[in-house]
């Protein structure tokens, strides 16, 4: 019974990691940038969602509002921060991104206060009994919501003209451009979708803990970086599998090796171990 519960916990965390990490891996696949500031967008999404929910009382309204706003912020970050330094060595964009993320966290602290915000009337907190486990509605919504969003994303990528242009650009930007794909538009779209997903993930996390605070992006962001590396940088399927694996490993790890390593250290111990055996990640493309 303990195993089933741990597995379920792992799955819930895994789904959350997945929607954070997918945005990161999309950006990496297209631009070869480790987009640390992605976690800032995650926090922004949580705050916007929480504020709209508190103001209107409707989570269903808060989700799209927050996702769309954060999507546009993501596009702005690409336009003003990354585009001008794309031709520089990779560490330049990485360090710039870390700087941007730290600055964003501080700005959130200044605007929303250092102690964080809570939902006045937190939605989805009712308990449900499944297989003898009592889960909160929010746990179930996270799992099904993530699967649904990733399903839509995969449909978008496989079946629409837009998606085909997108995948072509990831594979070979020059060739795609010579076939008439606007690389610039694809990049904007990429940032929009990735950031919107991060916003939704942020709202989910704030629902789980009924709390949004300036530093909430820290741990998921570094962990999402570990996940996209585990999944083979830029590989979406690999990222999804790695997310769920990491969620489950952490859930079991905190019980069995929790005396020696804390939760974050378990994630990174996994990462280092895998990289030593397979330097290109678990599911590298080449």
């Amino acid at each position: 019974m303990l195993y089933v519960e741990l597995l379920t916990q792992g799955l819930i965390y895994g789904c959350m990691y997945a929607i954070i990490a997918v945005g990161l891996t999309l950006v990496y696949g297209l631009l070869r940038i480790l987009h640390v500031a992605h976690a800032g967008l995650f926090t922004l999404g949580a705050y916007l969602g929480l504020i709209v929910t508190n103001a209107t009382g409707s989570l269903l309204l808060a989700l799209p509002v927050s996702a769309i706003c954060v999507g546009f912020v993501g596009m702005a970050i690409y336009r003003f921060c990354y585009q001008p330094i794309l031709h520089k060595p990779p560490y330049v964009a990485l360090i710039a991104s870390i700087g941007l993320f730290i600055a964003m966290e501080e700005i959130f602290r200044l605007i929303f206060g250092p102690y964080g915000l809570t939902y006045t009337n937190a939605p989805l907190q009712s308990l449900v009994n499944i297989l003898g486990m009592s889960l909160r509605m929010v746990d179930i919504v996270i799992v099904f919501g993530s699967v649904a969003m990733l399903g839509v994303l995969s449909w978008l990528a496989q079946r629409t003209r837009l998606g085909i242009a997108w995948r072509a650009t990831v594979d070979d930007p020059q060739m795609a451009e010579s076939f008439g794909v606007s690389v610039q538009k694809v990049r904007y779209l990429n940032f929009f979708i990735g950031s919107a997903l991060a916003a939704v993930a942020g709202i989910f996390v704030s629902l789980l803990s009924n709390f949004a605070e300036p530093t909430m992006g820290g741990v998921p962001s570094y962990k999402a970086l570990a996940i996209i590396v585990l999944g083979g940088l830029g590989n979406v399927t690999g990222t999804l599998i790695a997310s769920v694996i990491l969620g489950v490993v952490e859930a079991f790890g905190t019980i069995y090796v929790g005396d020696y390593l804390d939760r974050d250290a378990i994630a990174f111990a996994c990462l280092i171990l895998v990289l030593m055996i397979k330097p290109q990640g678990l599911f590298s493309r080449k």
Binding site: Y91, L94, I95, G99, Y222, L233, A265, A269, P279
Partner: protein, 287 residues
């Protein structure tokens, strides 16, 4: 100088040693490290344990360098397997792993609460500053010497183009390991001195933010340039102390500065200085 100025000068010197260590790895050899604080922390904890056991300080500092350098070689071995972005994430992971282990070791390392009651060196504040100043000067001289030596050229070759360097029979793995060993030993030394300075250490002193701060010092000063790194370190350590406004918003200041430097002048202050001097003299480069 009052107590406050003495402390400030001491911390600047310690940070210079710390930053020069990272500069050896990232600046000279081109291997990015986002977990340099782990080695700083290793040095600090080694010194704390040895000093509490009653050993004299030269032995303790040597121990800090050895242990940090040895762990650095292990991480260096990892750097041979992974490159660029993968290496950045791996070293970041090393930082989190270090924190995770220290936090859970309540009995030996003091866990969350850290270690306190570390015996002093017995030199007094001015004496300690003098010691730190001498060590920082030695590290600076060592850095400049390495840069000019054959090893410096080999590091440069590895940083610029690893594959071509290998083709030219440069022993790339050996040089990478050397860079890691030297750079992390310096971080360990800085950590040991820091431990003697504060005489109280806790895990949060050596977190990701510390790794990023030291990277900012190197990046703002100019990656690979010794004078640049020293100026960058002084600037980033002293500016937040000079005005109350900056110290309240220290992280906002760091973050914005880091972003702005990378966005507008990726070669840092040394690059800006170099291009101005270059225009004046008609030739390039400060360092």
């Amino acid at each position: 100088m009052g107590i406050y100025e003495l402390s400030l000068a001491t911390i600047v010197c310690i940070n210079i040693i710390f930053a020069l260590g990272l500069n050896l790895i990232t600046g000279y050899c081109g291997q990015i490290s986002l977990g340099h604080a782990a080695f700083f922390g290793t040095g600090a904890y080694v010194v704390a344990l040895m000093a509490k056991a009653g050993l004299p300080f030269p032995v303790n500092l040597a121990g800090a360098m050895l242990v940090a350098g040895a762990i650095g070689i292990i991480v260096g071995v990892a750097s041979l397997r992974v490159r660029h972005d993968f290496l950045a994430i791996t070293t970041m992971g090393v930082g989190f792993l270090f924190l995770g282990i220290v936090r859970q070791q309540d009995s030996v390392l003091g866990g969350e609460m850290g270690l306190s009651g570390i015996p002093s060196m017995g030199l007094g504040k001015p004496g300690f500053l003098l010691l730190v100043l001498v060590v920082a000067a030695l590290c600076t001289a060592f850095s400049v010497y390495i840069k000019k030596s054959w090893m410096g050229f080999a590091f440069d070759a590895v940083a610029t183009d690893e594959d071509t360097a290998r083709l030219l029979t440069v022993n790339v793995p050996a040089y990478k390991l050397t860079a890691f060993a030297l750079g992390t030993a310096m971080a360990g030394l800085a950590g040991g001195l820091y431990c003697y300075f504060t005489r109280f250490i806790m895990p949060d002193d050596f977190g990701f933010i510390t790794s990023i701060s030291v990277l900012s010092m190197v990046a703002v000063g100019g990656i690979g340039s010794v004078p640049g790194v020293i100026i960058g370190t002084m600037l980033l350590t002293l500016l937040p102390e000079m005005s109350e406004f900056l110290s309240d918003y220290k992280l906002l200041f760091y973050g914005t500065l880091l972003f702005a430097v990378m966005r507008f002048a990726p070669d840092g202050l040394a690059g800006v200085g170099g291009s101005i001097f270059g225009k004046l003299k008609g030739k390039g480069g400060l360092a």
